[in-house]
Amino acid sequence: MTTAQTVPRAPRRRRFSRSALRNRLYAYALLAPAVVVVLLVIVYPLVMAARLSLHDVGIFRVDRGLTGEMSFDNYEAMFRSRAFWKSLRITLYYVFFGVLGSFAVGLFTAVLLNQPFRGRGLARVLMVLPWPVPGVVAATMFTWIFNSSFGVLNYLLLKSGIVAQPVQWFTKPVPALVAVLVATIWKGYPFFTISILAGMQSIPKELYEAARVDGAGPIQQFRFITIPALRSVIGISLVVATLWQFRVFDIIFVMTGGGPTGATETLAIQIYREAFQYFEMSYAAAVGMVTLALSVISTFFYLRLTSRSFY
């Protein structure tokens, strides 16, 4: 039984031959539609956002473009702003725990749903029901569930004796962040469930059988076969989930508006505020560049971590 090794580099001796050139063009042609669409739509906004952050513009007006001197004033103001550093800290907590939570729940449910049992198809469909619920609707729902006086969560917590007093979910900083994380994880885990479940289908059964013959228990099989095989799927899922988490807006804005006292004001919320409530779009762009930088860093981090191919 042969499995493909890591793809070899194009052999040296063929580098300048016509068929190598045709190969390259073929590769670029395959990539072209994706790159064209994405660049067409994204490059202009990205470049505009970067330039915007170096000017002093209230509203980015297409008819006026960007004139005036370029300066790092916005960045200076940002790094000196207490609100920015607080928001950065909150964002890091939010992204870290949100992605971790979604990943954990997603992995758990995927493993569960990969076992053979009757009604599995139905269970799979049910398990991912939170995904298509609009973020605003889910947030509104959780706002009532977490209501300190009449919410069902406090009712259950009180009844079961876990707490003695109703938890003030939205008026204290840490509970507010927890509430927002719960709603986010609820919306976020089905993505991992589906991705990991799909990834698991590519793992040949023979590997598990061979391991079982060798005496490996289910946990060892999981550690040494499942997880390594899922490396690339997990990697890209973590990347995409993290990128999403940095940009989440609806859920937080509806549930807490970024409060109380900035306890849930992530960078995404702050960017919206500065851009569309205070109309300081240059400053918002600067904060946006920070988000971009964080996104780039996490992307490289995850992809490097999980890039070793299993096959």
């Binding site: 706002t143 979910w169 939205f170 109380p260």
Partner: protein, 422 residues
């Protein structure tokens, strides 16, 4: 013979076609987005007004499209910034300033003067909020004053004869109205309710009590100094309500309304749109819901709710038509219909007859509140009001809900205000 008839028929057909072509060539569609296009009450009034306008202007069609409220301003700003504004701008008043600052609105002074418009002298006092750098850039559609919604049935059960008239009474009554009806340890009815999360509405209540404490002053004086005593007095009222346990915590404005409408809160502050909330209550609760003046010793919190404006840069023809729409809107007939169809106090003074006032028992209250309202926007901070509002909200929550020190918060707020005004 046949040929002549043929020619005559052809000529007639040609003539008919020409007329049709000419007519359709003259059809102008005016783009008017609004968040009220499907709102119960107001949408009926808008649709009737638009139908009347179209009847008076054959060949002109107003396309009245609904845009969801939460994202309304984002979309309008995007359209203006990208150079694609609508033809008639209907706008929440709170968003007006940025359009004025960017020069996106056509000045209306000449037209108002030339038509001797009622807007000049017979309009709601908050119309002054439509002025920017000496020019009138919008017309107020709804100017309001806040009222007190109170549950008479709950009051009677608590042995209270009537609504409170000042903050001290509010505190006392709220305490008495907070009851655990079935003895299970949970409070079933709170005396009062106000938003305690980071959403607009928190600062409303602070400002209302600030006005009571200092009827002639505002958040900041004309030197930019925060009115510390009044702010502390206002916060003290709210803090007392929280400490007494008379208010549920963790709600936004929607939660506030839901509590009142379900009889879970005996009182709430709201604008004249409270009528819609009252109408949506279950019949047995609705029967007991009343409206009274705000319990702030006669100083009424208020402002402008929404405005009409004409985007700058329209073709002269479209601008003229947009203006004529606004003119129709200001007419006696349509202003009084704002009360009868939309159920809200009209912006134009003196259009309501006794009959109309009799139809809706609360209308008189709404009108009085609107006429005597004090605008919530501090004059010096009009251009940066949104930022100030958010700072005021956070300071309020810190003091009122988390028990922070009022002076420390005021120091911080003053520092921010100084930075804004620099």
């Amino acid at each position: 013979m046949k040929q002549r008839r043929l020619i005559r028929t052809l000529a007639a057909a040609l003539a008919a076609l020409t007329i049709v072509a000419a007519a359709s060539a003259q059809t102008i569609t005016l783009d008017m987005p609004s968040w009220q296009a499907t709102e119960p009450g107001t949408s009926d009034w808008w649709n009737a007004l638009i139908a009347e306008f179209e009847a008076q202007h054959p060949g002109v069609d107003i396309v009245f499209t609904h845009e969801p409220f939460a994202s309304y301003n984002d979309k309008m700003v995007t359209r203006f910034a990208a150079g694609n504004p609508p033809d008639i701008l209907h706008l929440p008043a709170a968003n007006f300033m940025i359009y004025a600052q960017e020069g996106w609105l056509a000045p209306l002074d000449e037209r108002l003067a030339a038509s001797n418009s009622p807007v000049l002298n017979e309009w709601t006092p908050v119309q002054s909020g439509c002025e920017y750098e000496g020019q009138t850039l919008c017309v107020i559609v709804l100017g309001y004053g806040y009222v007190l919604g109170w549950n008479e049935a709950a009051f009677q059960e608590a042995g209270l004869s009537g609504p409170p008239t000042n903050s001290a009474e509010l505190i006392e009554y709220a305490k008495r109205l907070t009851v655990d009806k079935d003895g299970d340890g949970t409070i079933d009815q709170y005396g009062f309710v106000f938003p305690t999360v980071t959403h607009s509405g928190v600062e409303t209540h602070t400002t209302a009590f600030l006005f009571e404490a200092d009827p002639d002053g505002h958040w900041v004086d004309d030197q930019g100094r925060i009115n510390r005593d009044a702010a502390k007095a206002a916060w003290a009222v709210l803090r007392q309500l929280v400490e007494d346990g008379s208010v549920p915590l963790g709600l936004d404005n929607n939660g506030k309304r839901q509590y009142f409408v379900e009889g879970r809160s005996a009182m709430m502050f709201e604008g004249p749109w409270i009528q819609g909330n009252i109408d949506s209550a279950a019949p047995e609760i609705r029967a007991g819901l009343r409206v009274a003046p705000l319990p702030t010793s006669g100083v009424i919190y208020g402002g402008a709710s929404n405005v009409l404006a004409i985007p700058a840069g329209l073709s002269p023809e479209r601008e003229q038509l947009a203006w004529e729409f606004i003119e129709l809107f200001t007419s006696q007939e349509w202003q009084s219909k704002y009360a009868t169809i939309a159920g809200q106090p009209p912006a134009r003074a003196g259009v309501l007859t006794e009959e109309i006032l009799e139809q809706n028992p609360n209308m008189r209250q709404y009108v009085v509140a609107a006429d005597t309202a004090k605008d919530y926007i501090p004059p010096l901070l009009a251009e940066d009001y949104t930022r100030f509002r958010d700072l005021a909200i956070e300071a309020t929550l810190a003091v009122v809900v988390q028990g922070a020190d009022a002076d420390a918060e005021l120091d911080r707020l003053q520092a921010e205000v100084d930075r804004i005004l620099r």
